[in-house]
């Protein structure tokens, strides 16, 4: 095959592939039984886009051990799950605060109450005398009563608990033993038989969900530390509902303007830069969603859009050099080669300086600063990569294809 034909094929196939991938990633694809999700579907949305409650709890007291913090975190997880929300996230921050994100819940007051309970669990007899406490309980799980098909909570008591509970159930047979979380009564089952095995079941839950919640409360027990809410945010449902479509609109218009500008100003290389920009957008989005598993937040959208505007910079540098070489009277092929080589040092130096700043911020920065730096570094590396490889590959093959030889179409 001639060089010309080869280059034509290479160019056509890769352009079609880029457009195809862009289409699949933006709107997904269903082939028979297989479904490829669109990038929108696999992107995890941050709390500021979904709406919900965000809390940071400060742990009171000095020299709290790592284990205690970890235990507190787990207990809070149980309590948050008891609110009946999926996808809640509980993490320990660098400053040893406990960060709680609960999507879809807008009642911060209630969430705070639920989390901040000192969590003293007591079983009390009819005279309000304490029968057993949370410390006597080994485990609480959810099961189903075989006869009634009703959900129940199964309790396992430890040795001391078994003894105390056996005495109490004998004393209060056919009476009510109430379960209290602090001063709130969460359940009030009637003692139906004397329990000596240390295994009891609590009936009366309406459904599995309620039984799960009760089991969660019983198991979560007392928190080992005192918590003070340092930050409480609620993002109302209307904010996310507005933020997503407006950002989408801004993204579409912004990207379209960048692409139009490149195509009009740089002609052939500009259109190739647009293809490379499409690769850049796909690459960064894929890295964010699959490798870094980052959640998309409102500032994240802003950062991503900003990086798209800046990503064409390397292309601009290269094309300006090609223009200069063409003006010196060089042939198209030589000019393209020289353009890439000449632009490379400034692309490298300018981007490496930015990457240095980004890495320092990733290393030393806290919270949002860290996240921002990660976006910055990923964006810069991806834009360098696409300009040096994708633009180069496409442009060289296009030039070799001899479709358009007029130097004016390359900016001369």
């Amino acid at each position: 095959m001639q060089v010309k034909t080869k280059s034509r094929l290479k160019f056509l196939i890769s352009s079609v592939l880029i457009v195809l991938f862009a289409y699949i990633l933006s709107s997904g694809l269903i082939v028979g039984d297989y479904k490829i999700s669109s990038i929108g579907e696999i992107t995890k949305l941050g709390l500021d886009l979904k709406g919900g409650v965000y809390i940071e709890e400060e742990i009171k007291g000095d020299n709290v051990s790592k284990e205690t913090i970890e235990r507190t975190k787990q207990l809070i997880e149980l309590r948050v799950n008891a609110l009946g929300v999926n996808e809640s996230v509980v993490t320990v921050t660098q400053q040893n605060r406990i960060r709680i994100e609960i999507p879809g819940v807008y009642d911060a007051e209630n969430a705070l109450k639920q989390i901040g309970k000192t969590g003293k669990l007591t079983f009390r007899g009819p005279n309000n005398d304490i029968v057993i406490t949370g410390e006597d309980i080994k485990d609480a799980t959810v099961g189903v009563n075989q006869q009634t098909n009703q959900p129940v909570v199964q309790l396992k008591l430890n040795e001391a608990g078994t003894k105390k509970f056996a005495e109490a159930t004998q004393k209060y047979l056919n009476q009510v033993i109430s379960i209290y979380m602090d001063e709130e009564r969460v359940s009030a089952p009637v003692v139906k038989s004397v329990i000596t095995t240390g295994e009891a079941i609590i009936e009366g839950s309406k459904d599995i969900e309620e039984a799960k919640r009760l089991a969660g409360i019983i198991k979560s027990g007392a928190l080992p530390v005192e918590l003070v809410p340092a930050t409480v945010k609620t993002i109302g449902p209307s904010l996310g509902a507005d933020a997503i479509p407006t950002s989408k609109k801004a993204a579409v218009i912004g990207i379209a303007l960048v692409m139009l500008f490149m195509a009009i100003y740089y002609r052939v290389p500009g259109i190739i830069a647009d293809l490379a920009l499409a690769v850049y957008i796909m690459l960064t989005m894929l890295i964010f969603t699959t490798v870094l598993k980052a959640t998309l937040t409102l500032p994240g959208i802003a950062g991503l859009l900003l990086s798209i505007g800046m990503a064409v910079d390397a292309n601009v540098l290269i094309f300006e050099r090609i223009k200069e070489e063409l003006k010196l009277g060089k042939s198209l092929r030589t000019a393209v080669d020289a353009g890439f080589n000449r632009a490379l040092p400034s692309i490298l130096d300018s981007n490496i300086t930015t990457i240095i700043a980004g890495l320092v911020l990733m290393w030393l920065g806290a919270g949002q600063v860290k996240g921002f730096a990660l976006t910055l570094v990923t964006g810069v590396v991806c834009s360098m990569f696409t300009a040096i490889t994708v633009t180069k590959f496409l442009l060289k093959n296009f030039v070799n294809s001899n479709w358009i030889d007029n130097k004016k179409m390359y900016g001369a």
């Binding site: 940071e56 807008y106 911060a108 007051e109 705070l112 809410p229 340092a230 930050t231 409480v232 945010k233 609620t234 993002i235 109302g236 209307s238 904010l239 933020a243 407006t246 950002s247 801004a250 218009i253 912004g254 303007l257 960048v258 500008f261 409102l298 500032p299 959208i301 802003a302 859009l305 900003l306 798209i308 505007g309 800046m310 910079d313 601009v316 300006e320 200069e324 040092p345 400034s346 130096d349 300018s350 981007n351 490496i352 300086t353 930015t354 240095i356 700043a357 980004g358 320092v360 911020l361 290393w363 030393l364 920065g365 806290a366 919270g367 949002q368 600063v369 921002f372 730096a373 910055l376």
Partner: protein, 287 residues
């Protein structure tokens, strides 16, 4: 060829006057520190229609019951924010309910609420300043190694210039300074250094090739050669960020506006501040 270095005094005068006015206002009026930095509570309410001054006054009366020092402000077209130091987590729902009942609002919940303890802001500020300083020092070292020390210093001065201009925007427009402020400053920092290096790289290349007769022509020539690139890159960046400013929700707008100015300043300073500083300095050295 552009005559940039000949008019160095003009460029410095323009920048200095903006910065001095900005800093004076900073000293007298101060930054509008948001709750991310000083702690406190903010409640954003979405009104069903654009609130007039009468409505704002009514809301002010309601919020004063909870916190007499609270501030009520209109944001965007139909949002109102209430800021205060003494509004507790428990009071937020009551406060919203009163406003909702008064104006028959459709939204069941406030659009956004945020309460931050004062300790968090201090940490954020210290961390941002500290990590940026380390980043600047490392960039200075890298530029000194790859180019020369004077390029590094000139680039850092241009950086400080851009950061000060961006801060001036926050002061002039009294935009609340929150954690997005940190991101805005860092973005300007990254953009500005990138832009300056491209010009310096051209000066280095031309000086090696010996294209120009003297240093004045060298600087002017290199700036002229990179000018189209500088303008085109700032344009494409402005396309996306301006689209965000026009269409985005109010918190995005607050972030986008200072960025627009900071990025323009980054381009300006790479041409009119960084290169002239290097020129003046090297001329003095050799004179």
């Amino acid at each position: 060829m552009l005559k940039v270095v000949e008019r160095t005094k003009i460029w410095f005068a323009i920048s200095l006057s903006i910065i001095i006015v900005g800093m004076l206002m900073w000293a007298f009026k101060g930054l509008n520190l948001g709750i991310d930095f000083k702690g406190g509570t903010v409640v954003t309410v979405k009104m069903d229609k654009e609130p007039d001054n009468g409505v704002l006054e009514e809301i002010r009366k309601i919020s004063a019951k909870y916190d007499s020092s609270s501030q009520v402000q209109k944001v965007g077209t139909d949002e109102v924010t209430i800021r205060g130091n003494a509004i507790t987590d428990e009071q937020i729902p009551q406060l919203y309910k009163e406003i909702k009942d008064k104006f028959n609002l459709k939204q069941e919940k406030p659009r956004y609420t945020d309460r931050i303890g004062p300790s968090i802001g201090k940490e954020l500020r210290r961390n941002a300043i500290y990590s940026s300083l380390v980043a600047v020092v490392l960039m200075l070292i890298y530029i000194s190694l790859r180019f020369e020390f004077r390029f590094g210093v000139a680039a850092v001065i241009a950086l400080i210039h851009d950061v000060l201009i961006t801060i001036a925007v926050y002061v002039f427009l009294q935009i609340p300074v929150n954690s997005s402020f940190v991101a805005a400053i860092l973005t300007v920092l990254g953009y500005s250094i990138n832009d300056t290096i491209v010009v310096f790289d051209r000066i280095r290349e031309n000086s090696k090739k010996g294209t120009f007769n003297n240093r004045r022509e060298l600087v002017n020539g290199s700036i002229s050669q990179t000018l189209t690139r500088s303008i085109n890159t700032v344009l494409t960046t402005l396309f996306t960020i301006t689209a965000l400013y026009i269409f985005g929700v109010s918190s995005i707008k607050e972030f986008a506006l200072p960025l627009i100015v900071g990025i323009i300043s980054g381009t300006y300073s790479s041409i009119f501040i960084a290169s002239p500083i290097w020129y003046v300095w090297t001329e003095k050295k050799t004179a």
